[in-house]
Subunit: 239 residues, 2 copies
DNA sequence: TTATTTATATGATATAAATCAGATTTTCTA
DNA sequence: TAGAAAATCTGATTTATATCATATAAATAA
């Protein structure tokens, strides 16, 4: 039996699904998920879940942007990553049978589906290809985190900021007139949280990058003018 | 059919297995693994695998200690973690269907079983409880890495070193006379690789900790004299 | 709109930690 | 066992970046 609430369009019709781990789940499974999911609209600033609390299901982002972060003992936020359309949230905590290891907050208005724990888990167990895909995603994430840790300890703030800008360009970049606008609204403080540094340092370095014609600043938005230059800075090819 | 090479004792009899992800695999599965695994002795300094190469199976540590590390572009090693008896290596790369994201080197003479890719994967698919356990382990690892990243960006070297010493004490500590000897041989350079700092900084801070009666130094071995003091340093409870 | 708060920006200063250099000790090896 | 090489240690110096302080601009609320 398949219910279909007005505000709850079926997963089969979801345009974000093709970007997600649900992408090639068989029709039958999709219907089960669809039947039990709950699509909720979130406004900027809302918290999806808090570190230390118990996961009751997983989130799948239909639209919007979410920051995943840990709050350090000095009160500063370390942003682990930004999640968008098609991304799953909270499945690591669920599979790890642990409380959330991080918190998540909406940074651009979002529509997010919630799929209850048992629906998600039984779907995994009933479909080993899906399970494998989820495991693949977890594994990939580990490699990404290893890279981030290595960068954090071995690279300078300047290098890391340049690298983060390039990455943001890859994910949120809108091309135009030979330059690339990073189309996501991040405060300087949040940018600092991604890089893992002080807000003032980010502001200072952005000014420097601007002076060096690597970027342009349009309010909160950053426009990348010279990807090659940033790439040179981000690595160790001179600098 | 179960072969049993002289140097290749069956997994059913392996005393390290109870610490591993194989711990409650059913007898039938154990036999398959046992039949296809290969136990190899490794000497200190040997490389198990290199970052960027293709995983052909997984490693399960029977004895010894292995460091898992990434080499940064400045040539320095960031040690991701140390692995010991019962730990699995290389399964994330296998499940992620990617090349190794890190390298691994023996730091204390080790006996390590190699289980070929298809044997491991078919075992996973045939036993969903095992698969779930592996997924749980991957998920846990992600949380650990998030914590490490946050520490790396938000804590001082002094705090991180104190924290690393406590962790090493937990894993390798041998109690005796109110103090705890860290019974694993790490060079100062490797300790620096764990903390994510320069070798000289580690040496200097160890001297300082010694002066402050937090630890004692016996050649390469470190003896923790004051866990409480180190804990105070490692966190932000004054310092 | 104006007032108030919050975010961004820039300068001055302090400091942790890297780097460079040299001495001593330990480990390796021929 | 001697000699060479590597690791540890300590000191001096430099540098990147955090912190503190204050000004300006932008966002929000009254």
């Amino acid at each position: 039996m398949m219910t279909n609430h007005p505000s709850n369009t079926p997963c089969a019709a979801c345009t974000s699904r093709k970007f997600s781990l649900f992408s090639d789940l068989p029709e039958s499974q999709i219907c089960v998920i669809s039947d039990h999911k709950n699509l909720i609209s979130h406004r900027k600033g809302q918290i999806l879940y808090y570190e230390g609390t118990k996961p009751l299901g997983i989130f799948c982002i239909n639209s919007g942007v979410v920051k995943i972060y840990k709050t350090a003992s000095n009160g500063k936020e370390q942003i682990i990553h930004l999640a968008q359309k098609g991304d799953f949230l909270g499945y690591a905590a669920l599979l790890g049978e642990e409380n959330y290891s991080n918190s998540s907050m909406i940074i651009e208005d979002a529509k997010i589906c919630f799929v209850p724990k048992d629906v998600f888990l039984s779907s995994l167990l009933r479909n080993s290809e899906f399970f494998r895909k989820v495991a693949k995603s977890l594994s990939h994430e580990i490699g990404v985190m290893e890279e981030k840790l290595t960068n954090a300890t071995q690279k300078s703030i300047r290098e890391r900021l340049a690298y983060v800008l390039l990455q943001l360009g890859n994910t949120y970049g809108v091309e135009g007139g030979g330059s690339q606008k990073i189309d996501v609204t991040l405060s300087r403080e949040e940018l600092a949280g991604i890089v893992g540094t002080a807000t003032e340092s980010v502001i200072r370095l952005l000014s420097e990058f601007k002076k060096d014609k690597l970027i342009e600043l349009e309010g909160k938005k950053i426009i990348i003018k010279d990807r090659r230059g940033l790439a040179r800075l981000s690595d160790f090819y001179g600098g």
